[in-house]
């Protein structure tokens, strides 16, 4: 397998550039903002960083079980999932990431859809 998007984008620095753009987008998106509206914003930002690292194929502590149990009780729909995907795409577009790399990140995120969506 070729090097990950994570490495091709520039590693942790790329995630750091993306995380605030992404977190602001989901916090402003009425479809999903309540899932991200945490009193502890530092902790919530760290979660978004872990998610982006995962979507970029970078080193991360996510496991399938974590992903599933973390989202199990949120009763998430396909609409919620798609909203996150849109915000991910828009974030990477804003950063000037080429479309083929955005496609790769989207494919990684899509691979866990069945662990996220519960209805």
């Amino acid at each position: 397998m070729s090097t990950s998007i994570y490495e091709r984008l520039g590693g942790e620095a790329a995630v750091d550039a993306a995380v605030d753009i992404f977190y602001r987008k989901v916090l402003s998106d009425d479809r999903i903002s309540n899932f991200f509206d945490d009193v502890d914003m530092d902790r919530q930002r760290a979660k978004q960083k872990a998610f982006l690292t995962f979507a970029f194929g970078g080193p991360n502590a996510y496991s399938g079980k974590d992903m599933k149990s973390a989202h199990a009780r949120m009763n998430l729909t396909e609409g919620h999932f798609n909203a996150v995907m849109e915000n991910l795409g828009a974030t990477l577009t804003e950063l000037g990431v080429p479309p083929d790399l955005i496609g790769e990140a989207a494919a990684i995120a899509l691979s866990v859809k069945s662990d996220i969506v519960s209805r």
């Binding site: 605030d20 977190y23 602001r24 916090l27 402003s28 509206d37 009193v39 502890d40 914003m41 530092d42 902790r43 930002r45």
Partner: protein, 330 residues
């Protein structure tokens, strides 16, 4: 299982360390029960506490195992001690002055060895019975006394007592909090926003900025239901005489038109504090913010500041803990 001062207590799944200790008859101070006021600080000497139980603590304290018992729901066994992180300092109430209809200034002798940064807060306890409340420091470290601003609450046990407490002995624990001036960026624009006695720590930040010759624009916003609550007007006006980069704004929720608009150094507006701040600052990507006062407003301002481009590491908050509803009023 919790081991607290060499006694073993079974803890229920999902129960906080604070609730477990209280249930077993231990005396542990607490106030807000939401991880904000830091009254219930304890230390673990073995076992890991969840990250949430250490939110808002300084890194050195996290490494030493200090945590907040009210929001600590441990996943594994813990060995716990009472904390000595913040040693108690003895002091005495030297003066009490009325600052506003519902606010008093309490001047304390500065204990030797008590170090703090302007804008931090302390836990003040009554020497006679240990009743304890958090208050922000409005004075700066170069002064030989400590000035606290205390909101007078209806039936407030501590605030009611403090009104008549000249000459009484108190204990100070702390300091706590991260709401203080950051050195090394004299040109950065600053936004200071607070409600009620939230202006006390902001005054500390502002006076530090003045002392160090801050050059960036500083905008101070004070919110109160009515004009009488905007209680540091003359002090702030005096400061602004020496600080051409300081702008003063007041947010009022009621009042006649004659009290609004430009009045001397102040701009008075009939609008909630967040509205007054963000109508002036739709973009905050280069600013540093200090936000103090009512928890709901602090949280709302923090979120909106972040959405307006401010980095989380440049938003310093001090949400004033109100007593948990099950606890007696302050």
């Amino acid at each position: 299982m919790l081991r607290f001062e060499n006694k073993d207590y079974p803890i229920e799944n999902g129960e906080s360390v604070l609730d477990c200790l209280l249930r077993h008859g231990e005396q542990v101070s607490s106030l807000c029960r939401s991880g904000a006021c830091q009254s219930c600080l304890l230390q673990t000497t073995a076992g890991a506490v969840p990250a949430l139980a250490q939110q808002g603590l300084k890194d050195a304290w996290k490494q030493q195992g200090y945590f907040l018992a009210c929001v600590c729901r441990p996943q594994a066994d813990l060995v716990i001690e009472r904390c000595d992180a913040a040693a108690s300092h003895e002091s005495v109430v030297e003066a009490v002055t009325a600052l506003a209809p519902n606010v008093i200034g309490v001047r304390l002798a500065r204990p030797s060895g008590f170090e703090f940064r302007a804008g931090q807060f302390v836990q003040l306890s009554r020497a006679s019975d240990g009743l304890m409340r958090p208050y922000s420091i409005a004075s700066i470290p170069t002064e030989d006394h400590i000035e606290l601003h205390v909101a007078l609450l209806p039936n407030g046990q501590m605030s009611g007592w403090l009104r008549e407490a000249i000459g009484q002995r108190v204990l100070l624990r702390g300091p706590f909090g991260e709401c203080f001036y950051q050195e090394g960026e004299l040109d950065r624009p600053l936004v200071l926003a607070g409600t009620g006695t939230g202006v006390a720590p902001l005054l500390g930040v502002l006076r530090t900025a003045a002392r160090l010759g801050h050059r960036g624009e500083i905008s101070l916003f004070h919110g109160s239901p009515q004009l009488s609550g905007i209680y540091l007007r003359s002090e702030l006006e005096t400061l602004s005489d020496t600080m051409p980069n300081l702008r003063l704004f007041a947010s009022l929720l009621s009042g006649p038109p004659s009290e609004l608009g430009s009045q001397g150094r102040w701009q008075f507006e009939l609008a909630p504090l967040d509205q007054v701040v963000f109508s002036r600052f739709p973009k905050l990507d280069s600013h540093r913010l200090f936000v103090c006062g009512q928890p709901a407003l602090v949280q709302s301002l923090r979120k909106r500041a972040y959405l307006a481009g401010a980095s989380l590491s440049r938003i310093h908050c001090d949400a004033f803990a109100a007593p948990h509803s099950a606890a007696p009023a302050a």
